[in-house]
């Protein structure tokens, strides 16, 4: 009885959605209110709202929590291992490598003096983005950072961090005064001031779009390549190996992209903070 009902719904759905041939790709990369474990079924996530704002738990939020949880567990293990001995062992080696890389190659050269204050923020950004990017490569999982809302939120946090860093070291008025190059004629200020204010927002906007586009692109390409197999059903034995080969190549490229994008996001955030902190440059 129930089976027939579900079948009816499924058929209706199929008929409804069959108009868009590429809808399934979008469906795969878009956020949703359930976690799919096709063909084993799916878990529906709760709907919530706060002051009229829809804050339902979505697939991407759920996975960002998993990412956060894994990060906490792993890093606590790493932190504990240092209590036993200062000599790194096992997983600590890997994390130490990344932590020292973020510290010495990203944060220290870009922010310079007083970088220690921003280090935890950058480490968190780096690890969160990196693990989110890599998480998308696990089957049944999803790329949290391929949701523009997530990258927008991260970029927003970067924006706040940049302004905070600037105000912290230059003072509220000092920071905003420092944004405008000194010795400008008054007439030019009319153009410069809106430009500078716009510049404040374009930096994080670029961060947001860059990460989002890079992360979604790889997935769309992989899915499109797989889709080719079904479009060229007649030539499946010719198309499938080629498509799978290319998909595998893109998949491996995705690992590189995941690392690079995490690096770029952190690097640029650090660079912008460095610029806000040391306005004289």
């Amino acid at each position: 009885m129930i089976n027939t009902l579900q079948d009816t719904v499924a058929v209706a759905d199929t008929v409804h959605k069959s108009e868009g041939g590429s809808g399934w790709i979008l469906d795969h990369v878009l956020d949703s209110h359930k976690i799919d474990f096709e063909p084993f079924g799916s878990i529906n996530l709760p709907h919530l709202s706060l002051f009229g704002l829809d804050i339902s738990i979505t697939k991407h939020i759920f996975f960002s929590w998993i990412v956060a949880l894994i990060l906490i567990v792993l890093l606590v293990v790493v932190a504990k291992s240092y209590k036993k001995s200062l000599i790194p062992k096992g997983i600590t080696n890997l994390f130490e490598l990344i932590i020292i890389f973020v510290r010495d190659e990203i944060v220290k050269p870009t922010i310079g003096k007083g970088y220690e204050y921003f280090l935890p923020f950058h480490l968190t950004i780096f690890f969160f983005v990196l693990l989110s990017n890599l998480f998308g490569l696990i089957p049944y999982s999803t790329t949290v950072t391929s949701n523009i809302a997530v990258t927008a939120a991260l970029a927003g946090i970067s924006f706040v961090a940049i302004q905070f860093g600037g105000i912290r070291s230059n003072g509220f008025f000092g920071y905003f005064k420092g944004l405008i190059p000194s010795g400008m004629p008054a007439l030019l200020l009319i153009i410069i001031i809106p430009l500078e204010i716009l510049g404040l927002f374009t930096k994080p906007f670029a961060l947001c779009i860059r990460l989002f586009a890079n992360m979604i692109a790889g997935h769309v390409v992989i899915l499109s390549l797989i889709g080719l197999i079904f479009i060229f059903k007649a030539f499946v034995y010719v198309v499938a190996p080629v498509a799978v080969g290319f998909a595998l190549f893109i998949y491996l490229l995705e690992i590189l992209v995941a690392l690079i994008q995490a690096y770029i996001f952190t690097m640029l955030t650090a660079l912008f903070i460095g610029m806000a902190v040391h306005q004289e440059h």
């Binding site: 759905d13 199929t14 959605k17 069959s18 868009g20 041939g21 809808g23 399934w24 979008l26 469906d27 878009l30 956020d31 949703s32 096709e38 063909p39 706060l50 704002l53 829809d54 804050i55 339902s56 979505t58 991407h60 939020i61 960002s64 929590w65 956060a68 990060l71 906490i72 890093l75 606590v76 790493v78 932190a79 240092y82 209590k83 200062l86 994390f95 130490e96 932590i99 020292i100 510290r103 220690e116 280090l119 935890p120 923020f121 480490l123 968190t124 690890f127 969160f128 949701n147 523009i148 809302a149 997530v150 927008a152 939120a153 991260l154 927003g156 946090i157 979604i216 889709g227 079904f230």
Partner: protein, 180 residues
């Protein structure tokens, strides 16, 4: 058959009519909340202890290296000092040996000289003694000759003095003297 089923699910099971650039405010809200909480938790349980440990280790390594460097310098200094001392001791001992050799030589020379002198003295003494003895013997001889001479004169006077006898006496006397 099964792949065909999966295929239809994959291709046609799209759900909402959303696009990829739909910004869901709820997701922004949750991401910010998640990130901020994550940052504070990690800062407390991970970054602080890890970064402190790394700093500690770096300090430890730097200090150890400095210590090793210092120890090396110290050791080199001590080595140099030891060599110097050894050289000095060597020189000292050489000097001491030379000095004692000189002393021994001096002593030998002196002893030789002294013994020579002693021997000379003994020889001199002996010579003197011999001379004295000889003189004494000569004196005695002289007195004996005188006595003999007196005795002879006495004898002559007692006998009858004739030519023949006189001659005889004189001959006897001369004989006596030459015998002595």
């Amino acid at each position: 058959m099964l792949t065909g089923l999966n295929l239809s699910i994959l291709i046609f099971a799209s759900e909402g009519g959303g696009t990829i650039i739909d910004v869901n405010p709820g997701v922004i809200f949750w991401t910010v909340v998640t990130f901020v909480i994550l940052m504070f938790i990690l800062k407390k349980v991970a970054w602080k202890p890890i970064l402190t440990a790394l700093d500690q280790r770096e300090t430890l390594i730097r200090e150890s290296l400095e210590k090793a460097e210092n120890a090396k310098e110290e050791a080199e200094k001590i080595l140099l000092k030891n060599q110097e001392m050894l050289a000095k001791a060597d020189e000292e001992s050489k000097k001491l040996v030379n000095k004692s050799r000189e002393y021994a030589n001096g002593l030998k020379e002196q002893m030789l000289k002294e013994s020579k002198e002693q021997a000379q003295k003994i020889v001199n003494d002996a010579t003197l003694e011999i001379e004295r003895q000889r003189e004494a013997a000569f004196e005695e001889l002289k007195s004996q000759v005188a006595e003999i001479a007196v005795h002879a004169a006495e004898k002559i006077l007692r006998e009858n003095l004739n030519m023949e006898t006189q001659k005889k006496i004189a001959d006897n006397f001369i004989n006596e003297i030459t015998k002595n």
